[in-house]
């Protein structure tokens, strides 16, 4: 049982590695095997590790916090966002093997191409903050999704607020 689980995890890890050259974790189908499931659900898989392990991606996502939010049509980092990013910087400095992809997103209340540029501005603001807090710029890449990949689906202010975000996505050690 345990052995099978280990194998399964290793397989997932391999798939995760295969997908790592492509920073688009939403890509449905570019990475061959496993792509079908992704295309159907739009959900990508990567090994998160044990959330109790302070070196794991799960710990980073849940405990440190991988997401910061922005005001409408803004890319300025509010104090709350700066606090989260400072914690991210500390953690990333200690766990220097992970590669870093910063995704920028916008809400649906803007035009497509402008929102693409706005998402890039947000991702870049996060990258600059982390760089100023000691994270090497060569570890970090940015990618913008504009309004293409909302996480909250309602058309109301609370959903728009959730969607105006930058997400720090970690890639496996050695595969950035």
């Amino acid at each position: 049982m345990t052995r099978h689980l280990t194998k399964a995890l290793m397989l997932i890890a391999v798939l995760g590695v295969a997908a790592c050259n492509n920073p688009d974790r939403y890509a449905n189908g570019t990475a061959g095997a496993g792509a079908g499931a992704n295309a159907a659900t739009g959900i990508s898989s990567s090994p998160l590790g044990d959330p109790n392990d302070p070196k794991s991606i799960a710990y980073f996502n849940q405990t440190v916090g991988d997401t910061v939010h922005f005001a409408e049509d803004q890319s300025t980092l509010a104090p709350e966002a700066q606090q989260i990013l400072a914690t991210q910087a500390t953690w990333l400095a200690r766990n220097s093997d992970y590669g870093i992809i910063i995704e920028g997103h916008a809400d649906e209340r803007g035009t497509r191409e402008y929102n693409l540029a706005l998402g890039a501005r947000r991702a870049s603001a996060v990258k600059e903050f982390l760089a100023a807090h000691g994270i090497s710029a060569t570890r970090m890449r940015t990618i913008s999704y504009g309004k293409e990949r909302p996480i909250a689906l309602c058309s109301a202010p609370q959903c728009y607020a959730e969607n105006r975000r930058a997400v720090t996505v970690l890639t496996q050690p050695g595969n950035s």
Partner: protein, 442 residues
């Protein structure tokens, strides 16, 4: 092509009080599209004559396409065949004008279809019923039988053109993004269709996110943005071969919003580096790249003037999205939008006279037009989310995306006249966004 009939004849026949606005100003069978409310011109379209057995199956379909094209403009109204007194049994038989006057047809369209081998021949004549004369020459179109729909569009284009004095737009195609799946994981495919939603073909598989295609001026290539490499990059695709190539692949940048110059040789696009987005030109033959704007702002949504000398674009350099014009070689910019709200996605009319745009104001989205100096702004639509106008080849109609709100919100394509009249949904097999209207086909 259009013929002006003596106004006196129409007045004698109808009496001045009965004349609709279009007839009072210009004589019979002439419609001025940019005027106020228009009374649609009633037309009769008796079944085209099938000149041989093979043609029979096409006749009704061709009539339907012609009728839908003309009625769809809102400028014409078909008189139902059940009202007709005359029957047309031969293409060359003399027209009984009295029979068509009696049912108040202003225009009469007759035609015939024949099949010769794998070819289809469609011919038509247009008559000005009240002056009792043909309006222009009879015309014949020939092509392979599977292009019967294009033949019908060509007949409708000729009729539209002779009566309005404007170029037609029915024999044209639209590239767009076909969408499916949930809102947080939309699958997007490039697709191409006839202007009326027929003949949809898919150009990409949907495995990769694609955005905002744009037709080349000759209709043979498209530009678009794709996440194929994982990051947004601009591509050009040859429509005949479906071969695509990446146009700019510099690490640490994002490229998007590509549009052709009127001669098709140059692409203007947005390049983002370090969070800042500027406009660049790319020479397609040499690959040489020239920076056009250098401003700490989002400069995007470019569109060439039809003469290729200027570029209109949007920038938030003033603090919010507004519309600017500059020379196609860069340099000084002139802001042309000054109303309240955010202005984006400017698109220069093929006639050169107007700029269409998206406007956001107090939580609503509008498609609008303004003159190239920013004057005479008119909002044509309003909804939760209207975005991305594209001009019909004759500059009289705009197509755009309208997206509904909520968890199950989805986009569709709509058209609206430049006057703001005649809002219509374009039928597409699924959800659709980001239309780009191609040229009138040769």
């Amino acid at each position: 092509m259009r013929l002006f009939r003596p106004l006196a004849i129409a007045i004698a026949l109808l009496g001045l009080a009965m004349l609709p606005a279009w007839a009072q100003s210009r004589g019979p069978l002439k419609i001025e599209i940019n005027q106020g409310v228009i009374e649609p011109i009633p037309f009769a379209l008796p079944a085209f004559v099938a000149e041989n057995a093979g043609a029979q199956q096409y006749v009704q379909q061709i009539d339907q396409v012609i009728s839908a094209d003309l009625s769809g403009t809102g400028l014409f109204r078909e008189i139902p065949q059940s009202a007709y007194i005359s029957r047309i049994t031969s293409f060359d038989a003399p027209v009984q004008y009295g029979d068509w006057k009696a049912i108040n047809a202003q225009a009469l369209i007759t035609g015939a279809v024949s099949i010769q081998g794998s070819q289809i021949l469609v011919k038509f004549r247009l008559f000005d019923v009240f002056s009792g004369q043909p309006l222009g020459q009879g015309l014949q179109f020939a092509g392979s039988a599977d292009t019967w729909r294009r033949m019908a569009h060509k007949v409708a284009d000729a009729v539209y053109s002779r009566i309005t004095g404007e170029g037609g737009y029915f024999d044209s195609r639209v590239v767009f993004v076909s969408e499916s799946g949930p809102k947080n994981a939309r699958q997007k495919r490039l697709a191409i269709m006839d202007y009326d939603g027929a003949n949809v073909q898919y150009l990409t598989s949907g495995k990769t996110l694609v955005l905002a295609p744009r037709f080349s001026p000759d209709g043979k290539r498209i530009l678009y943005t794709s996440y194929k490499t994982g990051e947004p990059r601009i591509y050009v695709m040859d429509l005949a071969t479906r071969q695509a190539r990446i146009l700019d692949d510099q690490q640490g940048t994002m490229t998007f919003a590509p549009r052709f110059s009127p001669d098709g040789n140059t692409v203007v696009f947005s390049l983002e580096r370090g969070g800042n987005t500027d406009l660049y030109l790319l020479n397609l033959a040499t690959g040489q790249r020239t920076q056009l704007t250098n401003s700490p702002s989002i400069d995007t949504g470019p569109s060439f003037s039809p003469d290729g000398k200027q570029i209109v674009f949007e920038s938030d350099r003033s603090g919010s999205q507004q519309i600017y014009i500059m020379s196609a070689s860069g340099g000084a910019v002139t802001r042309i939008s000054f109303g309240a709200g955010r202005y984006s996605t400017p698109v220069w009319s093929p006639r050169g006279d107007l700029i269409a745009f998206t406007k956001q104001y107090e939580g609503r989205f509008h498609i609008g037009v303004m003159r190239t100096d920013g004057s005479d702004e008119r909002l044509l639509t309003a909804s939760f989310l209207d975005e991305g106008p594209t001009w019909a080849p004759n500059g009289r109609v705009l197509m755009f995306m309208r997206e509904t709100s909520g968890v199950n919100g989805a986009p569709s394509l709509y058209t609206v006249d430049v006057s703001g009249r005649n809002l219509r949904k374009v039928p597409t097999p699924g959800d659709a966004s980001d239309p780009s209207w191609g040229p009138l086909l040769p």
